[in-house]
Amino acid sequence: MAKIGQPNKELPHGAGDHGGGEKGALWPDLGGWFSLPGMAWLATISQGEAVGELAEAYAAMAARPIPAVYRPPNGTAPGIVRAHSLDAELMRRTFTMSGLLHRSGLAWADRELVSSVTSRTNQCFY
């Protein structure tokens, strides 16, 4: 593991899967940022470790009426939601907008096709 940065004073001690480095988590307990495989590059706070406004935002996200296929099989919040977890208000505003698009009246299959082609064109797995 490579040390890749400095401790982030903004985050609560031990809060979340603090991403950074080669798809790695950051662990302030180890005196700096270290990478672990399988985690984001940007610091995130998981739903299980969220408190206050962030916990409320995660709960609101989980309560949304979305198709089961959008829910990760491990029961946690989707990575794209976790990516916004350093700012609960940003998470709320972003996914309010995306939620309204889901209720726009355009058929689900059409939305899936458009989003899939957009992602494919941008060479993105999301």
């Binding site: 890749i4 995130t44 990516a83 350093l86 995306s98 096709l113 458009v114 082609v117 060479q123």
Partner: protein
């Protein structure tokens, strides 16, 4: 598969795929023919606006995914595994005199008032806040993203936000890569900003500002088709 020119798709799907592919990769080159092809398949009015909204939203979400390095949440045993082509070259940008000029009135969803309000609330927070990035830093990022999207009206509106040396130059370079080559983003791109003094929450806002401007520019260029 799903590249926007898949001959196996039915006509309605092929027209939607074409819209998404062109607006994502070459937003400056969307034409009334794309709109008319969709209208012939019943995708017009509110449905057309909604389709534009989905393209815009996913131009935001994919950039957040690529810049933050989130992992794939799902595994499908039925579909082939998607392998991104990281060496893909972006479409060449046209000269400045060929950029579309699309005003503020086309950056909304007239068929969906609630969506317009939500978009504006989101946009205000991302591009008009003063922490953890300053408003000026956000608009430096947005200016670069608008230029990379060949969005003449927005690029002109943000003309005074050319980057100064130092941190703003780092933000400008970050915004240009995330706008033009999101599939090539890596952990070093965020680390460069960290080394420049930007804290982790500021990085999230930098990503969001770039991604949202890319989304807005594509919404505008698609919506402009409704006026011709």
């Amino acid at each position: 598969m799903l590249t926007g020119d898949d001959g196996l798709l039915p006509a309605r799907g092929a027209a939607l795929a074409d819209l998404a592919a062109v607006l994502t990769s070459r937003p400056w080159s969307v034409t009334p023919e794309i709109r008319d092809r969709l209208a012939a398949q019943g995708v017009e009015g509110a449905d057309f606006e909604a389709a534009l909204g989905v393209v815009a939203m996913f131009n935001y979400l994919t950039r957040v995914a690529d810049a933050s390095g989130i992992e794939f949440d799902y595994a499908s045993e039925q579909l082939p595994v998607f392998e991104p082509e990281r060496d893909q070259e972006p479409a060449p940008r046209p000269g400045r005199d060929r950029w579309p000029v699309v005003g503020a009135e086309f950056r909304t969803f007239p068929s969906f008032p609630a969506m317009t309000r939500a978009w504006q609330d989101w946009r205000d927070y991302v591009l008009d806040s003063d922490e953890p990035l300053t408003r000026r830093e956000r608009l430096v990022l947005a200016r670069a993203a608008a230029q990379e999207s060949c969005d003449a009206w927005r690029a002109d509106e943000l003309g005074e936000y050319a980057p100064h040396e130092g941190g703003e130059a780092l933000l400008d370079a970050f915004a240009r890569k995330l706008s033009r080559r999101p599939w090539q983003m890596g952990p070093a791109d965020l680390q460069t900003l960290r080394d420049g003094g930007y804290a982790e929450r500021a990085l999230l806002h930098a990503i969001s500002a770039v991604a949202l401007q890319n989304a807005e520019s594509r919404l505008a260029m698609g919506r402009a088709l409704t006026s011709s």
